[in-house]
Amino acid sequence: MADFDRGYFVGAFRRMAATAEEHRDEWTKLDGDIGDGDHGINMSIGFREVVKQLDALPDDTDVAGLFKLVGMTLLRKVGGASGPLYGSFFMKAGAEVAGQSEVSFDDLRRMLRAGVDSIQQRGKAELGDKTMLDSYLPGLDVLEAADAADPQAALTAFVDRMRQGSDDTIPLVAKKGRAMRLGERSVGHRDPGSQSSWMLMNCLLDELKG
């Protein structure tokens, strides 16, 4: 059972920052179709600041501290719905492993569950409301059911299921967030947060693959 240390997570966060930059216009376009066209831009603004923070990361920062820093940075810089949601996600995830310098794969699963719980607590959305939860929730179930002996396979299944969950948002009528007011006009469009969330989680997998 692999251990995930601070270096691993720093690497994953740098990948997330690169992903946010690379997919900025794609996420923005998705949000333009059924939202206000800022999702990719704001995630890129947030992760640009994350990179600055990582570049100046104090040596004594542990995993919990790192997650708190990333969460707070997103909270401060992103705004909108996804700022507090992603911010809480990372902060709550980190809080699960306070004081630990390394985390086990089971710890990681607990972290992600805690993070997703906080999204749900803050945003009060349900499965099928056409939000990022439509990728997170089914993904987490798969992750938790997976064999802990093979984290890479488990994370692969997790991300694949999240991606599938994102695809599944396309035919849905939005019930939360800005797209909600579009009603039937939201049908046929992918939810932008479901796309950004699987792509960000995919960075955990990529960093593990190295």
Partner: protein
């Protein structure tokens, strides 16, 4: 469409820096660079009025910070709710011991962030109440679900008029709620705005099309139609707003024509004219008129009509003296 910017990632900070430099006699940045506050607060302690939302709606929100108007504006990224720390910092910057009122348009992102700010303030023992502005008739059937558009300015005026009397937080909140309950808006957009970071429009729209029920963020409206002459567009808007507010002959209203940024004042006054004529014809008295760019979407071509059902109290609030760079009267 074209903009005159530097790096789009710097646009909000440069806007705020430029704004406080231009209006340094009235406003400054708080310790938080996303919080615009009055240089000096009211000499008599009053409820702190905190107005906010995304940037890209100028002169909303920062242009309404000033004497007798908002005490602070909290500014997010373009079209994006401000962050919770800024929401909190605004409270600590303006609270005078009487508590604060958050006023902002009803968008989920704003609710999430402002609520977190209020929680943080509560931890400090400062009471913050919230009135969500919900004037956009076409955005939802139930008032509570509607978004806030140009009605933001109307609700702000009412809340500030009452706060300036030294009233307590509950009274100020009730005034804002009363104003909100009586405010009805609906708009159309002929173009998208252009985002500073990408330099691109948010959505495409045909040369002869308009988006009906457009908000002020570039969210798609509720319906896309062929563009019609100004009078026909006003008739269509009034055809939805008047029944919704159930406006009767003999009633009194305030009328606001809000330009979304790229629509010339010429067009706005031509729109005003039709609204004036239709209401007058219907036996409705227009007690107050406001025409101009009150709540924009940067360079978006479009406008909205806002009607406020008035009684003596509400009319007096809207005619109170205000002195902010973008709201001066009395």
């Amino acid at each position: 469409m074209k903009r005159l910017l530097n790096d789009g990632y710097d646009a909000v900070e440069e806007l705020l820096d430029g704004y406080v430099k231009a209006h340094g006699d009235v406003v400054k940045l708080a310790d938080n660079e996303r919080v615009v506050v009055r240089t000096t607060l009211s000499p008599q302690p009053k409820v702190g009025i905190i107005f906010g939302g995304g940037s890209g709606h100028e002169p909303l929100f920062l242009g309404y910070v000033g004497e007798g108007v908002a005490d602070a504006a909290v500014i997010g990224n373009v079209n994006t709710s401000p962050d919770p720390i800024a929401c909190y910092d605004a409270v600590t910057a303006v609270d005078q011991g009487k508590g604060c009122l958050y006023l902002y348009g009803n968008y989920q992102g704003d609710v999430l962030n402002f609520d977190m700010g209020a929680e943080m303030a509560a931890d400090d023992g400062i009471t913050v109440e919230t009135v969500l502005i919900t004037d956009d008739v076409y955005s939802a059937k139930d008032r509570a679900d509607r978004r806030g558009v140009a009605g933001d300015v109307i609700v702000l005026m009412a809340a500030c008029a009452v706060a300036n009397t030294g009233a307590d937080l509950a009274t100020v909140k009730a005034a804002a709620e009363k104003a909100n309950d009586n405010t009805y808006s609906m708009g159309v957009a002929l173009s998208s705005s252009t985002l500073p970071v990408t330099g691109k429009p948010i959505f495409d729209i045909g040369p002869d099309d308009m988006e009906v029920g457009m908000g002020i963020h570039g969210e798609p409206g509720i319906e896309r139609k062929k563009l019609e002459p100004a009078d026909a567009v006003m008739d269509e808007i009034l055809g939805i707003v008047l029944p919704d507010m159930n406006l009767q002959s003999g009633e009194r209203v305030a009328v606001m024509i809000n330009g979304l940024g790229g629509l010339p004042l010429m067009d706005q006054y031509i729109c005003y004219r039709r609204v004036h004529d239709v209401l007058t014809e219907k036996g409705v008295t227009i007690a107050k008129s406001m025409v101009g760019n009150y709540a924009t979407s940067m360079d978006m071509i479009g406008m909205g009509v806002t009607l406020v059902r008035l009684d003596d109290e509400l009319e007096a609030w809207l005619n109170a003296p205000f002195d902010a760079p973008y709201l001066k009267q009395g």
